[in-house]
Subunit: 255 residues, 2 copies
């Protein structure tokens, strides 16, 4: 049985708590947050505290707070030489105070507070400074049912950056699709099956092979028609840049 203390009360902290609650291999012995209000609803399930000096003994301390405060929080921990990990995609493992055994448990997924999360769909990327710390973090991640990958800092940072492209930026393309359809009273809902299919397709085909459409075909007539059709200058700029991007990838001439 691995004992864990969670620090922080955001989406990642909350989902980790709920995930660990479901396993027999991990016991969350305490939940810390700067303000008790956020974790009070879990009072009946776990000991809660807002006092770092009152932290209980545990095998692993998981700091799931915003990047900016990881360093400060870790330096305030009232002990040395215990295993402390953060969960950030972009913060360095060295942001943790050097008096500690340091590591990272980076769950590569988009966390919403409301939605139930199946950790089978959340790859957990593990980094440790000391190799000896890896097995216990692996056990921890495995207990959630997550796929596990050992990675280094550069790989983690690059995954976090790529995640911005495939998650935040993709979602913004959905938003633009929403704006475009609504401007003509068409239903965005009609695009939802296509959106799912686009994501499904690359599960077992490379995005390179999966590409279709006017930019890939270098269908100048349609591209011109689309640019004329777009009234919003900003939408036009996105159309141009991503068309150019596709043509770079597929060896077509520029616009």
């Amino acid at each position: 049985m691995i004992s864990v203390v969670i620090l922080g009360a955001g989406n990642v902290a909350t989902h980790l708590f709920k995930g660990f609650e479901k396993t027999d291999e991990v016991s969350v012995v305490q939940w810390y947050n700067r303000s008790l209000a956020a974790i009070k609803p879990y009072n009946h399930l776990v000991a809660i505290t807002d006092d770092l000096k009152a932290l209980k003994d545990a095998d692993v301390y998981i700091i799931a707070v915003s990047d900016d405060v990881i360093s400060e929080l870790s330096s305030q921990l009232p002990f040395d030489d215990k295993l402390v990990v953060h969960t950030s995609g972009s913060a360095s493992v060295y942001d943790l105070d050097m008096k500690l055994k340091r590591g990272v448990l980076y769950p590569l997924q988009s966390f919403s507070k409301a939605a139930e999360l199946d950790f089978a769909n959340v790859p957990i990327c593990i980094e440790t400074i000391d190799k000896a710390c890896f097995p216990i973090l692996k056990k921890l991640a495995k207990s959630l049912g997550s796929p596990i990958k050992r990675i280094n800092s550069d790989q983690r940072r690059v995954l976090h950056l790529a995640a911005v492209f495939v998650n935040n930026f993709t979602n913004q393309l959905y938003r633009i699709g929403h704006e475009i359809t609504e401007s003509e009273g068409a239903e965005f809902d009609l695009l939802k099956p296509l959106i799912l299919e686009t994501a499904n397709k690359i599960q077992d085909m490379s995005p390179f092979k999966a590409q279709t459409g006017p930019a890939k075909r270098n269908d100048k007539k349609t591209i011109k028609k689309h640019l004329k059709q777009l009234e919003n200058e900003h939408h036009k700029a996105v159309y141009k840049l991503l068309t150019e991007s596709i043509q770079r990838t597929h060896g077509r001439k520029k616009l």
Copy 2:
């Protein structure tokens, strides 16, 4: 029983043929293509021809060819006043010869030749010039199990344009994610669950509400870090423009 002749041998034509083959409500009485080779494999299932003058009588003729040749092909049809539809998202219904009863059956999905297609995930957008032609096209689309939507030309064109954003451009973001991860020896596969979740999320939440990440939070430190991290100037340009796009949508200041 609705009798149909299919003209063309691309992905849409082929999937429509296979779809109609599964229903009892539609009979494909003939399949035409300029070159017989492409449809020869279906010889045992349907009468095939490469001769427009030999076209059989049918309730509906479905022209599923590239946009450029719809007009020409429709003007070569050796009959007047029959119901002829094309399947294009961007061609006008008026591209069909005016001697005909004209309509459009636009399946809003990404068609790959190989993959099996479930028409339940393919909304079919129907347009007709003459209202009287709508019911038979509706029956045709329903027989495939597709959701059906009556739309006008403007709505169809706008859906086709929005589809480029949510399908082709989104896929290009996946491609950039692939390039970025590979450059550091990280695994693109680790991003696949996130890609699926991003598409799933907006099935019942607006893309506006679903947005997260540094651009939405106006987290300048992370944005700066990411821009520094990106070595490829083109990736940088995409990062900047889509970050700006998110900040426009969410009322943040520009970069």
